[in-house]
Subunit: 407 residues, 2 copies
């Protein structure tokens, strides 16, 4: 009956954002894609940085995803330009040309090689980018750069109710290092390589290959472990830039890399959880922890199936401890499980023991579900596989938001 | 550009239900599981019948599913007893004993071998069956049997807004044959072998092995081609009884079997579409037709992914022709597709051609989505695979219904 989900080294979060690491600056402003709100962001390192990226696995990839996926292959980047309000997806060859022009204009405005500029977009699909607005906005954003990233975090929002930033400071081999980040996302959130847009920065020094390793690891336990609605975006990207301005020798392996990855995971997890907490219409953040599966992969699959079940999500919204829906979701998850070996707990309260409802706990369970942050623990009792994912409840508000997105 | 979804021989529906074929009787009444509404149904053939069944693939199977799955293996059955208001799922050994007792009591009340009695349940999961109510109800139901099945169709409802019955009459080799049926279901609807509860009857004569073949075929294009919410029930079962009272030689193959299967598919499709039309909170019935896939299986998978996308379903609810969400769903469907080869039509109106939005059709598309019955056609332009599934929109009402199911 022990909980097999163990915390890794916990790195405490500090106030900060993607511009907090040494040598990074950012800007965010309104250029005219949206009606009034900020819609253009710029993130710049004062020197070329190592870069790693993870991108959507959707076969329909937005133009900026295709552009940036090719650009990060070099392992070097110095700036990222991001617009919200338009995804530049399903826009054909014109869309690819627009993404390339965004990089070129940013290079001109910053006096950089355009090959060092990455591009991301988020917003409505299938509408050509309003390039006039972007052409006017990029030089203004370049002039507005500051060692502070909240305006950039504001400018990448779509249906987000709040801007999402996070940072940690840690000592790596005697060198004080900062890792910062920002993210956007509230709907069309489902893990597959990456989810939503995330931009991570650090002043630590890491070669691109090592940076990729650290990012892949951090993503698995953060952006790839969240879901709002099971839909995978055409634009999902997470980029990580490391400019080495903290000083010290490059981090290549050993304890230093482990510690860096823990810090990166802390920032990425915080941003990912913010995305779920801000899930469209969500009123509750729900951790689904599965243990006792035959493998970590099956535990993840089981947790994700429960996390995406409409019946589970609506029950969580209504505060109903209708655990039968959790068992029904586990039964169709395509993983090894046996009803009679399965326990379910809401927080520390066991509601299902060995496949049967625990008598007399319904009211206590309903009380447990009134909290804003809930943990559902599932013990499959078969093996040693474990995983945790985060989801949110499904409310009438989600339907209202998504039934009138373009109007 | 031709539509590769072709209709099979269309058998016209007639008024009728599961008691319409010769030699079948049915009853439905209130026995006390629910507060006031009918909750117990009986369906009986005057002679032992051939039987075939398809059952949920959920690993968490309700007790009546386990019981009946074993019982249909004999290929013979004469009665079906069904309760609503309680699924008898996740109820352990006591639940299996209760299912067996339901069969035994029905056998006693009808003077039949209990081995010829099948059992089905639907309703809340994890609560012991109130056997006192059922013990009182079964003899009363046996006395109430009549050659009319609407009260039985009423008694198997859960959140259904209306009772679902359908029938066809057809001439098979000079013999007039009737096929009738009833179904229940409005939520926890997703295809996997069978969906929801369906009870089909016929006075045609078919050996069990042939009956299984016909049922498997009919289910594929009906109950296995619908979705409301992507959740697969623990209780899904479709049973088909053939008692041969129409006279004539047994149907074993050839044109007769083809015609019988067409009739069976017509009844099953009508019932399945009724389930979607009655989808919890649904305001629109939506056919998703995919053609040009590399195989029928991939076409089905693509159609189901679109049909289950929350973003597509909420857009359909809001009447928004937000076709980008359809392309995004296709891109994550795990099937071969290329954005630039894909067309999307709302009814006959092309909104996406070769992956790009058709200019100037947004308002016409929005008008097309105001209809109560909508067809979304997707041409992948790669191969010859085709499939059609039915889904419904997702409304605030679905959330309200499922957020307060047990209260």
């Amino acid at each position: 009956m022990i909980d097999t989900i163990t915390e890794e080294e916990t790195i405490p979060l500090v106030a900060g954002d993607a511009a907090s690491p040494a040598g990074f600056r950012a800007a965010g402003l309104h250029c005219g894609i949206k009606r009034e709100r900020p819609d253009l962001a710029l993130l710049v390192s004062e020197v070329p940085a190592s870069v790693a990226g993870v991108f959507t696995t959707n076969k329909v990839k937005a133009a900026p995803v295709r552009y940036t996926q090719a650009a990060v292959a070099s392992g070097r980047a110095q700036a990222v330009v991001v617009n919200s309000g338009n995804a530049n997806a399903c826009t054909g060859k014109a869309g690819l040309a627009d993404a390339a022009e965004m990089a070129r204009l940013t290079g001109v405005a910053l006096g950089l090689d355009p090959a060092l500029v990455l591009v991301a977009s988020t917003g409505v699909i299938g509408v050509p980018l309003p390039m006039e607005a972007i052409r006017g906005g990029i030089p203004r954003a370049a002039r507005a750069l500051a060692p502070e990233g909240t305006s950039a975090a504001e400018a990448i929002r779509t249906t987000d109710r709040f801007a999402k930033t996070a940072a940690v400071r840690l000592d790596i081999g005697g060198v004080p290092v900062t890792i910062g980040g920002m993210a956007k996302g509230a709907g069309m959130i489902h893990p597959n390589m990456a989810t939503t847009l995330g931009f991570l920065t650090t002043d630590a020094a890491l070669p691109p290959a090592v940076l990729r390793l650290a990012l892949t690891r951090a993503i698995a336990d953060s952006f790839n472990s969240i879901t709002v609605d099971g839909d995978t975006s055409t634009n999902d990207s997470v980029l990580l830039l490391a400019n080495g301005r903290a000083g010290g020798p490059p981090i290549t392996n050993g304890l230093e890399l482990k510690r860096f990855t823990a810090g990166l995971t802390a920032v990425a997890s915080e941003l990912a959880k913010m995305v779920v907490r801000d899930g469209e219409g969500a009123t509750r953040l729900v951790a689904i922890e599965v243990s006792g599966a035959v493998s970590d992969a099956e535990a993840h699959q089981a947790a994700m199936t429960v996390a995406n079940s409409l019946l589970v999500k609506t029950a969580l919204h209504g505060g109903e401890p209708n655990w039968g829906r959790i068992l029904a979701a586990l039964g169709r998850a395509g993983v090894e499980m046996a009803e009679e070996k399965t326990d379910v707990l809401f927080g520390e309260l066991e509601v299902v023991h060995a496949g049967l409802g625990v008598p007399g706990v319904w009211n206590a369970a309903a009380s447990a579900l009134e909290a804003k942050e809930i943990t559902v623990k599932i013990r499959l009792g078969i093996g040693a596989g474990a995983a945790r994912v985060w989801t949110c409840d499904l409310s009438e508000e989600y339907v209202r938001i998504n039934g009138s997105y373009t109007t």
